[in-house]
Amino acid sequence: LNYELLIGIGNSDRGDDGAGREVVRRLRNRGFSPERLRELDGEAASILEAWKGANKVLLIDAMQSGRPPGTILRFDATSNPVPTILRCCSTHGFGVAAAVELARALDLLPDRVEIIGIEIESPEVGPGLTPAVESAVEALVTELAGKNACAQPTRPVVPPGS
């Protein structure tokens, strides 16, 4: 897979809630192109704005579904509605699932949208990940880096703010 944009979603000041952003940060530290990596807080309008012009998008978000912390769920949202489990459990209000479904309703969805949810332990106030989530984040970074998940540009992605 070769994503044009990876968006990490969360609040890094809320512990595990920043898991998705942490994946993106670590990919950046591994030399992945910053233009293909975005960190957002999960607000829907910003997500719709961020992926304008991108055809293949991966969203990485924290979730709380009652599964063991560190569980990773994957979902291809391209042609199927975001499942209840991800809708329920994203920790971001009118956020990721809303952004995807709103974009679908408005015909603004990129050609391909995938979502990875990382089950978190607790969104406590303060930075830092709990051990299970830390392991999941690192595993995901290794996997995405190994797949060279966002290496080769196929078309320019609209930079933030444009």
Binding site: A45, A98, V125
Partner: protein, 441 residues
């Protein structure tokens, strides 16, 4: 943050329980428990589970300079409100006065937050209630133009925040005394153009909101808001109420007290000797109607909105008026912009205490800090608008359910949720993770 999870169940014969696990479409995770017994409303509780006042403890021992950025993290929707209260509290404590240019730039930044927050609430969170849609997504299919326009308005607010605040969420450019860097006038060119369009769309949003079906419901409230000698209040003013209160913000704690309630980890605020009160757009509008530009007063009138409005469901219409006001005010402030130079005034820490109140999108936010001679925080007190409205929300629900006892749960539950959203409760400010329950027997 909010989680959309609804569960309906029925238990014992003769008893019906409707339970919404988590109240969706409020900022933060919120919920409510309503119990009907023997044909009467037996109990209404807005429940809150977050460890209370974490941030107040977290701030202790930190430098005054850190308060704006730390408190901004309490909420992703109204970080500017927290920053503005923090910096103005510190300046009050240290006897610093900012220049008119800095003050105007702060007001401009705050307009960005009103634009973002009000747009989100009006179109995506609250309008679906009025039109009978389960959420903003379902509504978007039928109201594509409105939703696309709302996205544009919101984006113009985001961009204003980026130009002034350094980034669109959790601005990093705000400091005690002013800003780290003041934008050059030329940096506003693009966002000003977007705001012009946003203004047109906001005027359409007012007309849209005016056409919504408002439940016939009024209550007597004591409205509380800031009041400024000249401006529609955002960053400063005296604190006034419809009951005749007119105080300096420094006297806030002499008149308002917080009570701990068993069903909630948050503190509920009351006006001493008088009880619950109402903060937010409806309070601001009713107490500051004469501070709105004439054209907006006319627009409000033609939308069927008069000062003295006591129907909380019309808060969506007031929010739309305020959204239009914020767009126009932002344009005015950009046109009159004089770059603050230097971008901040010097601040000398001293042993003191200082407080401030600003008008967050959902109502007054109060901060007070006790500082030592080095500027380290000894004590912090933060009273968010949502905890000030909680008792009023409960009272609204008690009344609303009481008037609609014969209504089936399938109708009553969404009506209750709609009534809660009249206050745009930002539960993440006051709380975290909440549930909704309606119990009837």
């Amino acid at each position: 943050m909010s989680v959309a999870k609804t569960k309906k169940s029925s238990s014992k014969p003769g008893t019906r329980t409707i339970r919404t696990e988590v109240l969706s479409r409020v900022e933060g995770e919120g919920g409510l428990y309503v119990k009907i017994a023997n044909g009467e409303v037996a109990d209404v509780q807005l429940k809150i589970f977050e460890p209370p006042r974490f941030f107040e403890a977290f701030l202790r021992g930190r430098s005054y300079e850190e308060a704006p950025d730390i408190t901004a993290r309490i909420c992703g929707i109204c970080p500017v409100a927290y920053q503005m209260c923090a910096v103005q509290s510190m300046e009050a404590a240290f006897g610093a006065t900012v220049t008119p240019e800095i003050r105007a730039l702060r007001r401009l930044l705050y307009c960005g937050e009103w634009i973002e927050s009000h747009t989100l609430h009006i179109v995506f969170l609250h309008a679906p209630d009025f039109l009978g849609y389960p959420d903003g997504i379902a509504m978007a299919r039928d109201h594509r133009e409105l939703v696309l326009q709302a996205l544009h308005i919101k984006k113009s607010g985001n961009e204003l925040m980026t130009v002034v605040g350094g980034r669109e969420i959790h601005p990093i450019n705000v400091r005690v005394g002013g800003f780290y860097r003041a934008p050059a006038a030329s940096e506003f060119t693009e966002v000003r153009a977007k705001l012009e369009t946003a203004r047109e769309y906001a005027a359409k949003a007012v007309r849209f909101a005016a056409g919504l079906p408002f439940p016939d419901f009024e209550r007597d409230y004591e409205f509380v808001a800031l009041r400024h000698p000249e401006e529609y209040p955002i960053t400063e003013g005296r604190l006034v109420s419809s009951g005749g209160l007119d105080i300096d913000v420094a006297d806030y704690e002499r008149h308002f007290v917080e009570e701990h309630v068993r069903h909630s980890n948050a503190l509920h605020s009351i006006l001493r000797g008088r009880g619950p009160y109402h903060v937010g757009p409806l309070a601001r509008f009713n107490l500051n109607y004469d501070r709105l530009p004439g054209a907006l007063q006319e627009m409000a009138a033609s939308a069927g909105l008069q000062p003295g409005c006591r129907n909380p469901f019309k808060s969506i219409l007031v929010r739309a008026i305020e959204l239009l006001f914020a767009c126009e005010e932002a344009i005015r402030l950009i046109d009159e912009y004089r770059r603050p130079d230097p971008p901040a005034v010097p601040v000398e820490p001293r042993e003191a205490s200082g407080c401030a109140i600003t008008e967050a999108p959902r109502g007054i936010l109060y901060h007070r800090y006790q500082l030592d001679e080095s500027g380290a925080i000894l004590e912090a007190k933060i009273v968010p608008p949502t905890s000030q409205n909680q008792k009023t929300i409960e009272a609204d629900l008690r009344e609303l359910v009481g008037r609609n006892l014969e209504m089936q749960a399938v109708e009553l539950t969404p009506l209750c949720e709609q009534a809660v959203r009249n206050y745009d409760p930002c539960i993440s400010c006051a709380t975290h993770f909440l549930k909704f329950e309606l119990e009837r027997n």
